[in-house]
Amino acid sequence: MTEYGFSFVSVIVFLSLAALFVFAVLLLGRFLRPSRSSQEKRSVYECGERPIGDAWFNFNPRFYIIALIFVIFDVEISFTFPVAKVFSSWIKQGHAGLAYAELATFIVILLLGFIYVWKKGDLDWLKKFDHDVN
Protein backbone atom coordinates (compact mmCIF):
# COMPACT_ATOMS: atom_id res chain seq x y z
CA MET A 1 0.00 0.00 0.00
CA THR A 2 1.29 3.47 -0.82
CA GLU A 3 1.59 6.25 1.76
CA TYR A 4 -1.08 8.12 -0.20
CA GLY A 5 -3.50 5.21 0.17
CA PHE A 6 -2.62 4.72 3.81
CA SER A 7 -3.46 8.32 4.70
CA PHE A 8 -6.95 8.01 3.26
CA VAL A 9 -7.49 4.65 4.99
CA SER A 10 -6.60 6.53 8.19
CA VAL A 11 -9.18 9.23 7.43
CA ILE A 12 -11.92 6.64 6.99
CA VAL A 13 -10.84 4.83 10.15
CA PHE A 14 -10.78 8.08 12.17
CA LEU A 15 -14.20 9.21 10.96
CA SER A 16 -15.80 5.82 11.61
CA LEU A 17 -14.18 5.63 15.03
CA ALA A 18 -15.62 9.06 15.86
CA ALA A 19 -19.11 7.91 14.88
CA LEU A 20 -18.65 4.59 16.69
CA PHE A 21 -17.47 6.30 19.88
CA VAL A 22 -20.48 8.62 20.07
CA PHE A 23 -22.83 5.75 19.25
CA ALA A 24 -21.24 3.38 21.80
CA VAL A 25 -21.38 5.87 24.66
CA LEU A 26 -24.99 6.76 23.86
CA LEU A 27 -25.80 3.05 23.75
CA LEU A 28 -24.07 2.50 27.08
CA GLY A 29 -25.94 5.44 28.53
CA ARG A 30 -29.22 3.92 27.40
CA PHE A 31 -28.86 1.24 30.10
CA LEU A 32 -27.80 3.74 32.78
CA ARG A 33 -30.01 6.76 32.29
CA PRO A 34 -33.60 7.14 33.39
CA SER A 35 -36.35 7.52 30.81
CA ARG A 36 -39.26 9.25 32.46
CA SER A 37 -40.19 11.73 29.81
CA SER A 38 -43.28 13.91 30.09
CA GLN A 39 -44.98 16.50 27.95
CA GLU A 40 -43.46 19.34 29.99
CA LYS A 41 -39.95 17.94 29.79
CA ARG A 42 -40.20 17.54 26.07
CA SER A 43 -41.35 21.09 25.40
CA VAL A 44 -38.67 23.45 24.10
CA TYR A 45 -37.20 26.16 26.32
CA GLU A 46 -38.74 29.55 25.78
CA CYS A 47 -37.94 31.36 29.01
CA GLY A 48 -40.33 29.19 31.00
CA GLU A 49 -43.42 30.07 28.99
CA ARG A 50 -45.37 27.66 26.78
CA PRO A 51 -43.64 27.82 23.37
CA ILE A 52 -45.58 29.75 20.77
CA GLY A 53 -45.47 28.23 17.30
CA ASP A 54 -42.61 26.60 15.44
CA ALA A 55 -39.08 27.90 15.19
CA TRP A 56 -39.03 27.18 11.48
CA PHE A 57 -39.87 30.65 10.27
CA ASN A 58 -38.45 32.96 7.63
CA PHE A 59 -35.17 34.49 8.68
CA ASN A 60 -33.20 37.47 7.52
CA PRO A 61 -31.85 37.06 3.96
CA ARG A 62 -28.51 38.65 4.90
CA PHE A 63 -27.47 35.21 6.22
CA TYR A 64 -28.08 33.94 2.70
CA ILE A 65 -26.01 36.72 1.13
CA ILE A 66 -23.10 36.03 3.49
CA ALA A 67 -23.29 32.32 2.64
CA LEU A 68 -23.28 33.15 -1.07
CA ILE A 69 -20.23 35.42 -0.77
CA PHE A 70 -18.52 32.72 1.27
CA VAL A 71 -19.10 30.04 -1.36
CA ILE A 72 -17.64 32.25 -4.12
CA PHE A 73 -14.57 33.18 -2.08
CA ASP A 74 -13.97 29.69 -0.75
CA VAL A 75 -14.00 28.15 -4.22
CA GLU A 76 -11.58 30.81 -5.46
CA ILE A 77 -9.26 30.24 -2.52
CA SER A 78 -9.23 26.49 -3.04
CA PHE A 79 -8.16 27.15 -6.65
CA THR A 80 -5.35 29.37 -5.36
CA PHE A 81 -3.88 26.69 -3.08
CA PRO A 82 -2.22 24.55 -5.80
CA VAL A 83 -0.69 27.64 -7.42
CA ALA A 84 0.60 28.82 -4.05
CA LYS A 85 2.18 25.42 -3.47
CA VAL A 86 4.36 25.57 -6.61
CA PHE A 87 5.13 29.29 -6.24
CA SER A 88 8.43 28.90 -4.35
CA SER A 89 9.71 26.14 -6.64
CA TRP A 90 8.99 28.35 -9.68
CA ILE A 91 11.04 31.13 -8.10
CA LYS A 92 13.88 28.63 -7.61
CA GLN A 93 13.67 27.63 -11.27
CA GLY A 94 14.00 31.27 -12.29
CA HIS A 95 10.42 31.88 -13.40
CA ALA A 96 9.79 34.38 -10.59
CA GLY A 97 8.23 37.03 -12.84
CA LEU A 98 5.80 34.65 -14.52
CA ALA A 99 4.72 33.00 -11.26
CA TYR A 100 4.26 36.38 -9.60
CA ALA A 101 2.24 37.78 -12.50
CA GLU A 102 -0.04 34.74 -12.63
CA LEU A 103 -0.79 34.59 -8.92
CA ALA A 104 -1.07 38.37 -8.57
CA THR A 105 -3.53 38.56 -11.49
CA PHE A 106 -5.68 35.89 -9.90
CA ILE A 107 -5.67 37.56 -6.49
CA VAL A 108 -6.31 41.03 -7.93
CA ILE A 109 -9.36 39.69 -9.81
CA LEU A 110 -10.56 38.20 -6.53
CA LEU A 111 -9.94 41.57 -4.84
CA LEU A 112 -11.94 43.39 -7.52
CA GLY A 113 -14.88 41.11 -6.77
CA PHE A 114 -14.42 41.83 -3.09
CA ILE A 115 -14.42 45.60 -3.69
CA TYR A 116 -17.58 45.25 -5.79
CA VAL A 117 -19.35 43.37 -3.00
CA TRP A 118 -18.20 45.97 -0.46
CA LYS A 119 -19.34 48.93 -2.60
CA LYS A 120 -22.68 47.25 -3.14
CA GLY A 121 -23.14 47.20 0.64
CA ASP A 122 -23.53 43.45 1.00
CA LEU A 123 -20.88 43.34 3.70
CA ASP A 124 -22.77 45.75 5.96
CA TRP A 125 -24.52 43.72 8.60
CA LEU A 126 -26.79 46.60 9.55
CA LYS A 127 -28.35 47.94 6.38
CA LYS A 128 -28.58 51.72 6.14
CA PHE A 129 -31.65 53.27 4.57
CA ASP A 130 -32.07 56.77 3.17
CA HIS A 131 -34.39 57.82 5.97
CA ASP A 132 -32.17 56.86 8.91
CA VAL A 133 -29.11 59.01 8.25
CA ASN A 134 -27.25 59.10 11.53
Binding site: M1, E3, Y4, F6, S7, V9, S10, V11, V13, F14, L15, L17, A18, A19, F21, V22, F23, V25, L26, G29, L32, R33, S35, S37, Q39, K41, R42, V44, Y45, E46, P51, D54, A55, W56, F59, F63, I66, A67, F70, F73, I77, S78, F81, A84, K85, V86, F87, S88, S89, I91, A96, Y100, L103, A104, I107, L110, F114, W118, L123, W125
Partner: protein, 414 residues
Protein backbone atom coordinates in the same frame (compact mmCIF):
# COMPACT_ATOMS: atom_id res chain seq x y z
CA UNK B 1 2.41 6.04 11.63
CA UNK B 2 3.23 5.17 8.02
CA UNK B 3 6.80 4.24 8.99
CA UNK B 4 5.56 1.87 11.68
CA UNK B 5 3.13 0.20 9.27
CA UNK B 6 5.84 -0.07 6.63
CA UNK B 7 8.26 -1.58 9.13
CA UNK B 8 5.69 -4.09 10.39
CA UNK B 9 4.79 -5.09 6.84
CA UNK B 10 8.41 -5.80 5.94
CA UNK B 11 9.10 -7.88 9.01
CA UNK B 12 5.84 -9.46 10.10
CA UNK B 13 3.69 -9.79 6.97
CA UNK B 14 2.48 -13.38 6.84
CA UNK B 15 0.04 -14.99 4.47
CA UNK B 16 -3.17 -16.36 5.94
CA UNK B 17 -4.74 -19.16 3.86
CA UNK B 18 -2.65 -18.08 0.91
CA UNK B 19 -3.86 -14.45 1.18
CA UNK B 20 -1.37 -11.69 1.74
CA UNK B 21 -2.11 -10.02 5.10
CA UNK B 22 -0.25 -6.73 4.53
CA UNK B 23 -3.45 -4.70 4.28
CA UNK B 24 -4.46 -6.08 7.69
CA UNK B 25 -1.31 -4.64 9.24
CA UNK B 26 -2.05 -1.21 7.74
CA UNK B 27 -5.62 -1.37 9.00
CA UNK B 28 -4.52 -2.36 12.51
CA UNK B 29 -1.94 0.45 12.62
CA UNK B 30 -4.56 2.96 11.43
CA UNK B 31 -7.06 1.77 14.07
CA UNK B 32 -4.40 1.87 16.79
CA UNK B 33 -3.39 5.42 15.88
CA UNK B 34 -7.06 6.45 15.78
CA UNK B 35 -7.56 5.02 19.28
CA UNK B 36 -4.46 6.81 20.59
CA UNK B 37 -5.64 10.12 19.10
CA UNK B 38 -9.15 9.64 20.52
CA UNK B 39 -7.61 8.98 23.92
CA UNK B 40 -5.41 12.05 23.61
CA UNK B 41 -8.32 14.22 22.48
CA UNK B 42 -10.56 13.12 25.36
CA UNK B 43 -7.82 13.52 27.95
CA UNK B 44 -6.87 16.93 26.60
CA UNK B 45 -10.48 18.12 26.36
CA UNK B 46 -11.13 17.00 29.95
CA UNK B 47 -7.99 18.53 31.40
CA UNK B 48 -8.47 21.71 29.39
CA UNK B 49 -11.96 22.09 30.84
CA UNK B 50 -10.48 21.69 34.33
CA UNK B 51 -7.65 24.18 33.70
CA UNK B 52 -10.08 26.62 32.12
CA UNK B 53 -12.40 26.53 35.12
CA UNK B 54 -9.53 26.97 37.54
CA UNK B 55 -8.11 29.93 35.62
CA UNK B 56 -11.61 31.40 35.37
CA UNK B 57 -11.98 30.99 39.12
CA UNK B 58 -8.70 32.71 39.75
CA UNK B 59 -9.47 35.63 37.41
CA UNK B 60 -12.90 36.08 39.00
CA UNK B 61 -11.42 35.84 42.54
CA UNK B 62 -13.27 32.65 43.43
CA UNK B 63 -12.12 29.08 43.96
CA UNK B 64 -13.24 26.90 41.06
CA UNK B 65 -13.61 23.11 41.20
CA UNK B 66 -11.34 21.67 43.92
CA UNK B 67 -13.19 18.72 45.48
CA UNK B 68 -12.93 15.67 43.19
CA UNK B 69 -9.43 14.23 43.32
CA UNK B 70 -6.27 16.20 44.11
CA UNK B 71 -7.06 19.91 43.59
CA UNK B 72 -10.24 18.93 41.72
CA UNK B 73 -8.26 17.29 38.91
CA UNK B 74 -10.86 14.55 38.31
CA UNK B 75 -13.77 16.96 38.09
CA UNK B 76 -14.10 16.29 34.35
CA UNK B 77 -14.43 12.52 34.93
CA UNK B 78 -17.23 13.13 37.42
CA UNK B 79 -18.93 15.58 35.04
CA UNK B 80 -18.66 13.15 32.15
CA UNK B 81 -20.12 10.25 34.14
CA UNK B 82 -22.92 12.42 35.43
CA UNK B 83 -23.84 13.64 31.96
CA UNK B 84 -23.82 10.10 30.53
CA UNK B 85 -26.43 9.14 33.14
CA UNK B 86 -28.61 12.18 32.42
CA UNK B 87 -31.95 11.67 30.77
CA UNK B 88 -31.81 12.10 27.02
CA UNK B 89 -34.59 14.39 25.90
CA UNK B 90 -35.71 15.17 22.38
CA UNK B 91 -38.12 18.10 22.10
CA UNK B 92 -41.63 17.50 20.83
CA UNK B 93 -41.56 19.35 17.55
CA UNK B 94 -37.97 18.47 16.70
CA UNK B 95 -36.79 16.73 13.58
CA UNK B 96 -35.75 13.58 15.43
CA UNK B 97 -33.37 12.17 12.80
CA UNK B 98 -31.41 15.38 12.22
CA UNK B 99 -31.42 16.13 15.96
CA UNK B 100 -29.78 12.77 16.62
CA UNK B 101 -27.12 12.86 13.89
CA UNK B 102 -25.93 16.44 14.53
CA UNK B 103 -23.44 15.45 17.30
CA UNK B 104 -21.88 12.85 14.99
CA UNK B 105 -20.93 15.53 12.48
CA UNK B 106 -19.39 17.72 15.18
CA UNK B 107 -17.38 14.86 16.64
CA UNK B 108 -16.24 13.50 13.27
CA UNK B 109 -15.13 16.98 12.21
CA UNK B 110 -13.07 17.28 15.39
CA UNK B 111 -11.45 13.82 15.36
CA UNK B 112 -10.88 13.88 11.60
CA UNK B 113 -8.42 16.75 12.05
CA UNK B 114 -6.14 14.62 14.21
CA UNK B 115 -5.24 12.45 11.19
CA UNK B 116 -2.74 15.02 9.95
CA UNK B 117 -1.80 16.85 13.18
CA UNK B 118 1.84 15.97 13.87
CA UNK B 119 3.25 15.75 17.37
CA UNK B 120 6.90 15.26 16.44
CA UNK B 121 9.17 14.07 13.67
CA UNK B 122 7.46 10.92 12.30
CA UNK B 123 4.86 11.09 15.09
CA UNK B 124 1.77 11.69 12.98
CA UNK B 125 -1.18 9.44 12.21
CA UNK B 126 -0.77 9.91 8.46
CA UNK B 127 1.46 12.40 6.69
CA UNK B 128 -1.06 13.30 4.03
CA UNK B 129 0.32 15.35 1.14
CA UNK B 130 -2.68 17.69 1.17
CA UNK B 131 -2.61 17.95 4.99
CA UNK B 132 -3.35 21.61 5.70
CA UNK B 133 -5.96 21.76 2.94
CA UNK B 134 -7.59 18.67 4.39
CA UNK B 135 -7.75 20.33 7.82
CA UNK B 136 -9.56 23.37 6.39
CA UNK B 137 -12.09 21.17 4.64
CA UNK B 138 -12.73 18.61 7.39
CA UNK B 139 -13.41 21.30 10.02
CA UNK B 140 -16.35 22.38 7.84
CA UNK B 141 -18.12 19.23 9.12
CA UNK B 142 -18.42 20.95 12.51
CA UNK B 143 -20.45 23.78 10.95
CA UNK B 144 -22.79 21.25 9.36
CA UNK B 145 -23.34 19.64 12.77
CA UNK B 146 -23.98 22.98 14.45
CA UNK B 147 -26.49 24.13 11.82
CA UNK B 148 -28.26 20.77 11.91
CA UNK B 149 -28.43 20.84 15.71
CA UNK B 150 -29.68 24.41 15.79
CA UNK B 151 -32.27 23.91 13.10
CA UNK B 152 -33.53 20.46 14.12
CA UNK B 153 -34.26 21.47 17.73
CA UNK B 154 -37.25 23.56 16.62
CA UNK B 155 -36.48 26.03 19.37
CA UNK B 156 -36.08 29.74 18.70
CA UNK B 157 -32.92 30.05 20.77
CA UNK B 158 -31.31 27.12 18.97
CA UNK B 159 -32.36 28.51 15.62
CA UNK B 160 -30.79 31.92 16.31
CA UNK B 161 -27.65 30.32 17.70
CA UNK B 162 -27.30 27.97 14.75
CA UNK B 163 -27.75 30.74 12.19
CA UNK B 164 -25.34 33.09 13.91
CA UNK B 165 -22.83 30.31 14.22
CA UNK B 166 -23.14 29.46 10.55
CA UNK B 167 -22.64 33.08 9.52
CA UNK B 168 -19.68 33.48 11.87
CA UNK B 169 -17.78 30.29 11.09
CA UNK B 170 -18.38 30.60 7.37
CA UNK B 171 -17.17 34.22 7.31
CA UNK B 172 -14.02 33.63 9.34
CA UNK B 173 -13.08 30.67 7.17
CA UNK B 174 -12.01 33.16 4.46
CA UNK B 175 -9.29 35.04 6.44
CA UNK B 176 -8.24 31.72 8.02
CA UNK B 177 -7.69 30.06 4.65
CA UNK B 178 -6.00 33.18 3.26
CA UNK B 179 -3.55 33.42 6.16
CA UNK B 180 -2.72 29.73 5.76
CA UNK B 181 -2.16 30.48 2.07
CA UNK B 182 0.73 32.73 3.16
CA UNK B 183 2.34 29.72 4.85
CA UNK B 184 1.77 27.55 1.78
CA UNK B 185 3.47 30.22 -0.35
CA UNK B 186 6.47 30.23 1.98
CA UNK B 187 6.84 26.49 2.46
CA UNK B 188 5.88 25.24 -0.99
CA UNK B 189 4.19 22.27 0.64
CA UNK B 190 0.68 21.40 1.74
CA UNK B 191 1.58 18.56 4.10
CA UNK B 192 1.88 19.48 7.76
CA UNK B 193 5.27 17.78 8.12
CA UNK B 194 6.50 19.51 4.96
CA UNK B 195 5.53 22.92 6.36
CA UNK B 196 7.41 22.22 9.59
CA UNK B 197 10.46 20.89 7.71
CA UNK B 198 10.62 24.12 5.69
CA UNK B 199 11.09 26.09 8.91
CA UNK B 200 14.01 26.03 11.34
CA UNK B 201 14.55 25.44 15.02
CA UNK B 202 15.67 28.94 15.88
CA UNK B 203 12.96 31.60 16.30
CA UNK B 204 14.08 33.69 13.31
CA UNK B 205 13.75 30.67 11.06
CA UNK B 206 10.04 30.38 11.86
CA UNK B 207 7.55 31.59 9.29
CA UNK B 208 6.00 34.11 11.68
CA UNK B 209 9.18 36.21 11.57
CA UNK B 210 9.77 35.85 7.82
CA UNK B 211 8.46 39.32 7.09
CA UNK B 212 6.11 41.87 8.67
CA UNK B 213 3.39 40.45 6.40
CA UNK B 214 3.79 36.94 7.76
CA UNK B 215 3.77 38.40 11.27
CA UNK B 216 0.40 40.05 10.61
CA UNK B 217 -0.85 36.86 8.95
CA UNK B 218 -0.20 34.98 12.19
CA UNK B 219 -2.49 37.32 14.11
CA UNK B 220 -5.13 37.15 11.39
CA UNK B 221 -4.95 33.36 11.65
CA UNK B 222 -5.19 33.48 15.43
CA UNK B 223 -8.21 35.79 15.52
CA UNK B 224 -10.01 33.76 12.84
CA UNK B 225 -9.23 30.53 14.65
CA UNK B 226 -10.73 31.98 17.84
CA UNK B 227 -13.88 32.76 15.89
CA UNK B 228 -13.92 29.34 14.20
CA UNK B 229 -13.72 27.63 17.58
CA UNK B 230 -16.52 29.78 19.04
CA UNK B 231 -14.17 31.14 21.69
CA UNK B 232 -14.65 34.48 23.42
CA UNK B 233 -14.64 37.28 22.23
CA UNK B 234 -16.45 35.53 19.37
CA UNK B 235 -18.71 33.18 21.33
CA UNK B 236 -21.92 34.72 20.01
CA UNK B 237 -23.48 31.41 18.90
CA UNK B 238 -23.65 30.27 22.51
CA UNK B 239 -23.76 33.61 24.29
CA UNK B 240 -25.29 32.68 27.64
CA UNK B 241 -26.57 36.13 28.48
CA UNK B 242 -28.50 36.64 25.26
CA UNK B 243 -29.15 33.30 23.58
CA UNK B 244 -29.46 30.91 26.58
CA UNK B 245 -27.06 28.29 25.18
CA UNK B 246 -27.40 28.86 21.44
CA UNK B 247 -27.48 25.84 19.20
CA UNK B 248 -27.25 23.34 22.07
CA UNK B 249 -30.12 24.76 24.16
CA UNK B 250 -32.26 21.66 23.67
CA UNK B 251 -29.46 19.11 23.97
CA UNK B 252 -29.04 17.20 27.21
CA UNK B 253 -26.90 14.38 28.50
CA UNK B 254 -24.12 12.97 26.38
CA UNK B 255 -25.26 14.68 23.17
CA UNK B 256 -24.55 17.97 24.93
CA UNK B 257 -21.14 16.68 26.04
CA UNK B 258 -20.18 15.96 22.41
CA UNK B 259 -20.55 19.63 21.44
CA UNK B 260 -18.37 20.83 24.31
CA UNK B 261 -15.92 17.97 23.92
CA UNK B 262 -15.36 19.15 20.36
CA UNK B 263 -15.00 22.74 21.51
CA UNK B 264 -12.26 21.97 24.01
CA UNK B 265 -10.45 19.56 21.71
CA UNK B 266 -10.64 22.34 19.13
CA UNK B 267 -8.52 24.40 21.51
CA UNK B 268 -5.66 21.99 20.90
CA UNK B 269 -6.32 21.83 17.16
CA UNK B 270 -6.22 25.60 16.61
CA UNK B 271 -3.12 26.06 18.76
CA UNK B 272 -1.35 23.13 17.10
CA UNK B 273 -2.07 24.50 13.62
CA UNK B 274 -0.70 27.89 14.68
CA UNK B 275 2.47 26.16 15.94
CA UNK B 276 2.77 24.03 12.78
CA UNK B 277 2.25 26.89 10.36
CA UNK B 278 3.95 29.80 12.05
CA UNK B 279 5.93 28.79 15.13
CA UNK B 280 8.32 26.14 13.86
CA UNK B 281 6.47 22.99 14.98
CA UNK B 282 8.72 20.32 16.46
CA UNK B 283 11.98 21.62 14.98
CA UNK B 284 14.89 21.46 17.42
CA UNK B 285 17.50 24.26 17.14
CA UNK B 286 20.78 23.34 15.40
CA UNK B 287 19.44 19.97 14.19
CA UNK B 288 18.58 19.48 10.53
CA UNK B 289 15.44 17.75 9.30
CA UNK B 290 17.40 14.64 8.30
CA UNK B 291 18.96 14.31 11.74
CA UNK B 292 15.72 14.97 13.61
CA UNK B 293 14.60 11.36 13.23
CA UNK B 294 18.03 9.91 13.95
CA UNK B 295 17.47 9.02 17.60
CA UNK B 296 14.60 8.70 20.03
CA UNK B 297 16.09 11.39 22.24
CA UNK B 298 15.84 14.02 19.52
CA UNK B 299 12.34 12.91 18.50
CA UNK B 300 11.16 13.16 22.12
CA UNK B 301 12.87 16.56 22.50
CA UNK B 302 10.96 17.74 19.40
CA UNK B 303 7.75 16.34 20.88
CA UNK B 304 8.38 18.27 24.11
CA UNK B 305 9.12 21.51 22.22
CA UNK B 306 5.91 21.12 20.21
CA UNK B 307 3.85 20.41 23.35
CA UNK B 308 5.26 23.40 25.25
CA UNK B 309 4.56 25.83 22.40
CA UNK B 310 1.04 24.50 21.85
CA UNK B 311 0.12 24.47 25.54
CA UNK B 312 1.43 28.04 25.90
CA UNK B 313 -0.95 29.11 23.13
CA UNK B 314 -3.78 27.14 24.76
CA UNK B 315 -3.27 29.06 28.01
CA UNK B 316 -3.27 32.36 26.08
CA UNK B 317 -6.60 31.41 24.48
CA UNK B 318 -8.09 30.48 27.85
CA UNK B 319 -6.94 33.74 29.41
CA UNK B 320 -8.38 35.71 26.49
CA UNK B 321 -11.73 34.06 27.14
CA UNK B 322 -11.87 35.41 30.68
CA UNK B 323 -10.51 38.88 30.02
CA UNK B 324 -12.23 40.10 26.85
CA UNK B 325 -15.89 41.10 26.54
CA UNK B 326 -18.03 39.65 23.78
CA UNK B 327 -18.34 41.46 20.46
CA UNK B 328 -21.67 42.49 19.01
CA UNK B 329 -22.81 40.58 15.93
CA UNK B 330 -22.42 43.46 13.48
CA UNK B 331 -19.03 44.38 14.95
CA UNK B 332 -17.91 40.80 14.50
CA UNK B 333 -18.99 40.65 10.85
CA UNK B 334 -17.37 44.04 10.19
CA UNK B 335 -14.12 42.88 11.76
CA UNK B 336 -14.05 39.85 9.52
CA UNK B 337 -15.09 41.31 6.18
CA UNK B 338 -13.73 44.86 6.44
CA UNK B 339 -10.48 44.31 8.32
CA UNK B 340 -9.30 40.70 8.30
CA UNK B 341 -10.14 39.76 4.70
CA UNK B 342 -8.52 42.87 3.09
CA UNK B 343 -5.66 42.51 5.58
CA UNK B 344 -5.01 38.93 4.56
CA UNK B 345 -5.09 39.88 0.86
CA UNK B 346 -2.43 42.49 1.57
CA UNK B 347 -0.45 39.85 3.49
CA UNK B 348 -0.51 37.46 0.53
CA UNK B 349 0.54 40.08 -2.03
CA UNK B 350 3.19 41.41 0.37
CA UNK B 351 4.62 37.97 1.08
CA UNK B 352 4.75 37.18 -2.65
CA UNK B 353 6.64 40.39 -3.38
CA UNK B 354 8.98 39.77 -0.45
CA UNK B 355 9.69 36.23 -1.67
CA UNK B 356 10.48 37.37 -5.19
CA UNK B 357 12.78 40.16 -4.00
CA UNK B 358 14.57 38.49 -1.09
CA UNK B 359 15.82 34.92 -1.04
CA UNK B 360 15.11 32.96 2.16
CA UNK B 361 18.62 31.46 2.30
CA UNK B 362 20.55 34.63 1.46
CA UNK B 363 22.36 36.70 4.08
CA UNK B 364 20.02 39.68 3.72
CA UNK B 365 17.02 37.38 4.17
CA UNK B 366 18.45 36.09 7.44
CA UNK B 367 19.26 39.62 8.64
CA UNK B 368 15.72 40.82 7.87
CA UNK B 369 14.23 37.82 9.69
CA UNK B 370 16.34 38.61 12.74
CA UNK B 371 15.22 42.24 12.55
CA UNK B 372 11.54 41.22 12.40
CA UNK B 373 12.14 38.85 15.31
CA UNK B 374 13.78 41.62 17.35
CA UNK B 375 10.89 43.96 16.60
CA UNK B 376 8.34 41.36 17.66
CA UNK B 377 10.35 40.63 20.80
CA UNK B 378 10.34 44.31 21.73
CA UNK B 379 6.57 44.41 21.17
CA UNK B 380 6.21 41.47 23.56
CA UNK B 381 8.49 43.11 26.12
CA UNK B 382 6.42 46.30 25.95
CA UNK B 383 3.25 44.24 26.44
CA UNK B 384 4.67 42.58 29.55
CA UNK B 385 5.85 45.97 30.82
CA UNK B 386 2.33 47.38 30.45
CA UNK B 387 0.84 44.41 32.33
CA UNK B 388 3.32 44.99 35.14
CA UNK B 389 2.58 48.72 35.11
CA UNK B 390 -1.16 48.13 35.51
CA UNK B 391 -0.51 45.52 38.16
CA UNK B 392 1.55 47.96 40.23
CA UNK B 393 -1.26 50.55 40.19
CA UNK B 394 -3.79 47.89 41.23
CA UNK B 395 -1.50 46.67 43.98
CA UNK B 396 -1.02 50.16 45.45
CA UNK B 397 -4.77 50.87 45.36
CA UNK B 398 -5.52 47.54 47.01
CA UNK B 399 -3.01 48.27 49.77
CA UNK B 400 -4.51 51.73 50.30
CA UNK B 401 -8.07 50.42 50.49
CA UNK B 402 -7.69 47.26 52.53
CA UNK B 403 -4.30 47.63 54.22
CA UNK B 404 -3.38 44.11 53.01
CA UNK B 405 -0.99 42.85 50.34
CA UNK B 406 -2.51 41.81 47.04
CA UNK B 407 0.31 39.36 46.33
CA UNK B 408 -0.91 35.83 45.89
CA UNK B 409 1.80 33.24 45.28
CA UNK B 410 1.28 31.68 41.85
CA UNK B 411 2.53 28.27 42.96
CA UNK B 412 -0.32 28.04 45.48
CA UNK B 413 -3.48 27.01 43.69
CA UNK B 414 -6.52 28.89 44.92
Amino acid sequence: MWYLANYLEKNYAVSINGQESAWLIYLIVAIASALVMLGFASLFAGLASFVERRIAGRIMARVGPNRVGPQGLFQFVADGLKLIMKEDLIPNGADRFLFKIAPYFVFAGMLGTFVVLPFGANIVAANMDVGIFYIISITALVVVGIILGGWASNSKWSMFGGLRSAAQIVSYEIPLALSILVVVLLSGSLSTQGIISAQGGLPWDWFIFHSPFAFIAFFIYFVSALAEGNRTPFDLPEAESELVAGYCTEYSGFRFVVFFFAEWANLWIMSAIAVICFLGGWRVPFISVEESTSSWGIILLGLAIFMVKTLALVVVVIQLRWTLPRLRLDQMMNLCWKYLVPGSFVCILGTMTWMVLIDWNSMIGLVLRVVVFAGAFMLLAYYIYRIRFNYMIDRDNYKKMTGKDMWYPPYRLP
